[in-house]
Subunit: 233 residues, 4 copies
């Protein structure tokens, strides 16, 4: 055993396994893509029209649906409406963190075991999103549902920040990348998180206004309009 | 902050983050593959034989099913038949847009943050397909179900077109690619969309004929027979 | 339009779109991996212990389960047993076709739109496997369930064969690959398919013997023992 | 047929198909990433707040939820708590085996058909994890549920070990890798497995202490603190 540990070149006495394991950046990126692809698909999957009770209205085979039944289906689809807002918000959240996490990994030129674990924990946070979205879609008037959603957002922000900080500390970054890049990334994580706190605080007064604020914040990140003061972060 | 914005070389005053984030074409392609793979699998997953009520017919352990029960299962499988048509149609739709989106990404030689977001929105449209397929499979005689499906198709077409147009405008294309290529792609999106409008209009008269038209249109795109007049688009 | 069609170099008058679309072999391989990964995971997901009725037996918080309840859970797990056989068989089927399809794609040095569509159809067949497995797991004594499973196997074989034959015809193969390689692949598809017919025919007499034969055939393909006569195909 | 077999260069008389099939290391890695991404997402998906009975409490549209209903939802979320422990444990298990399997594949410089099959079987074990986690989350006081979970862990360890041993035997390893590396990997698999046996044995006395031990063991593997005696394996 000792011989392995001693064989470490940089003197940090890590065991051989720890230096080798979890060091493949490409594989980690592929895992990220997989998790984001699944969560993106699952978000929409939870959308289900409450149509069971319509089934007996089914029309004779060669006739289009009678107008009465059509309007019932229209009504059933309409009920999906409010929760669509929650799903749209989560799509924007997912996209924002996908772009952020992809950008971070692109800047690294190597990876180690601790970074892999931090990134796995970030992916765990990503995979919690369908849960907190479904909760919010069902209980849009409950402050607790908004609190759970906000905690999920906060968790994603903190974990991405932890990935970034660890990468800086462990010198995983591309040598050409200056501190400016690292600060720019950090700002892109911290500023939205501060605004999320405000949006969440509003839920004490009115949950719908709070949700609308969240959606607007995400939308701004996604579309990134060329408004001077907004453009800086 | 200002120093970052000023550091921008092409004078467009985009912040550092915006130039770096979402610029990895390979990662975007991997995300596309993930979403298409999941949706392709999910389409079929919704196929469920209504077999619960047959379970009590289960035979003694070492005997093949009695003929009575067999014919019941046969009947249950038969009921899956009509909705199979909806799934086949969605498979063809999915394949068509997969081939299109893959072709588009292949022509790009770089990617930026706005293109990544446009492509994410296209993937959101793709992930809506199991929802609109299930709706159509259940309510094949309802014009509203066909309308929802057609809106999904339209959305996919518009978003792919938006991706293509943005890529051209932002000069993401491979330098060797001429305008001819871009026009060919555009035609491949627009012409089927025009024909979809016709197929949808027919649903005002008869929903089954409308669905049959959709299937024939997709089938033509998939098989791409060497018929002279069809071959041109 | 005409100008695009005429621009075709090999004189086959295909439009520009058709030459460019669906020509990325790496993307197709990634889609294959995604579909196989999902189906592999879904196969097991359908395994659900019928434990609902045990829930009320739950023990006080700091005591291990009483022996009576334990044996009930043991019994519930035991009922999963028979259907495990169907899942094991499907895992072997999946592995066999994964190895085959991966091998085929490795031999190609380019890809075209028709091959992409053939491969997509093969993936559709793969994604049908959880459906036919669940049917078989539930109705192991029904010849019809075995028939559906066998048709799925046949479909997979025929589609892989179609991919291979098309690839040969369209000269997508690596130039170094001789006819010997192509014949070897073909034999690997056709011979098991002939044996599947025999296994299926046995279901007319006894469905369990038929399933056992299927499992043994797949197991032989997977383990590939070094038995001289078997080793040849 | 014979001619193919004779064409084998290394004299081992394997058929042509067997030498070519399943030899793509990159594809296998992509399949691994896919399965791990799906299982990571599915673990969390099973988390469902028992909220159905709250739905009728929904508030009038522009009012935040009344305090009574909020506390009910709070209570419902609280019930998810205990099973969260099982999911956290499985996340750690998954991460550990992901890092291990990624590390192993990184050390190989080629792959063959048998290794592909061994790795597929390992992935089957990975895809069983949501099943044994759900069982444990539901029956935390049942020794049998802990036994099933432990068998799953044991299976994963044994299969990864089989992959490693086979890779060594079939000389799939990177030529530069010394025996030291191989021994280091093996130790990383065997030592935790020995500790799992201890944790499982404790379940005979108290299932909660047993689960806590499992979590601590996994946590130690994940965080890998720089404690001298622990650091060696």
């Amino acid at each position: 055993m000792d011989s392995d540990v001693r064989a470490d070149e940089d003197g940090s006495r890590r065991s051989l396994y720890r230096r080798v394991a979890g060091s493949n950046l490409g594989r980690l990126a592929a895992l990220d893509d997989g998790v984001f692809a699944i969560v993106l698909t699952l978000l929409v999957l939870d959308l289900r029209v409450p149509v069971e009770e319509l089934a007996h209205h089914e029309q004779p085979l060669w006739q289009p649906g009678a107008f009465a039944a059509e309007s019932e289906l229209w009504h059933a689809l309409g009920e999906v409406g409010p929760s669509l807002l929650a799903y749209l918000m989560s799509f924007l959240t997912l996209g924002m963190f996908y772009v952020g996490a992809q950008g971070l990994l692109d800047q690294l030129d190597r990876c180690d075991r601790h970074f892999t674990w931090l990134n796995l924990t970030f992916l765990l946070g990503v995979s919690l999103l369908p849960f907190s979205t479904a909760l919010l879609a069902k209980f849009m008037t409950f402050r607790l549902a908004i609190a759970v959603y906000w905690i999920n957002l906060l968790l994603l922000g903190l974990l991405l920040l932890a990935c970034l900080r660890y990468a800086r500390k462990a010198r995983l970054f591309d040598a050409e990348r200056t501190d400016a890049f690292q600060r720019a990334f950090e700002r892109r994580i911290i500023i939205p998180q501060c605004l999320y706190v405000v949006a969440f605080a509003v839920s004490a007064i009115n949950t719908y206004v709070s949700i609308a604020l969240f959606v607007l914040l995400q939308l701004n990140s996604a579309i990134a309009p060329n408004i001077r003061p907004l453009n800086r972060f």
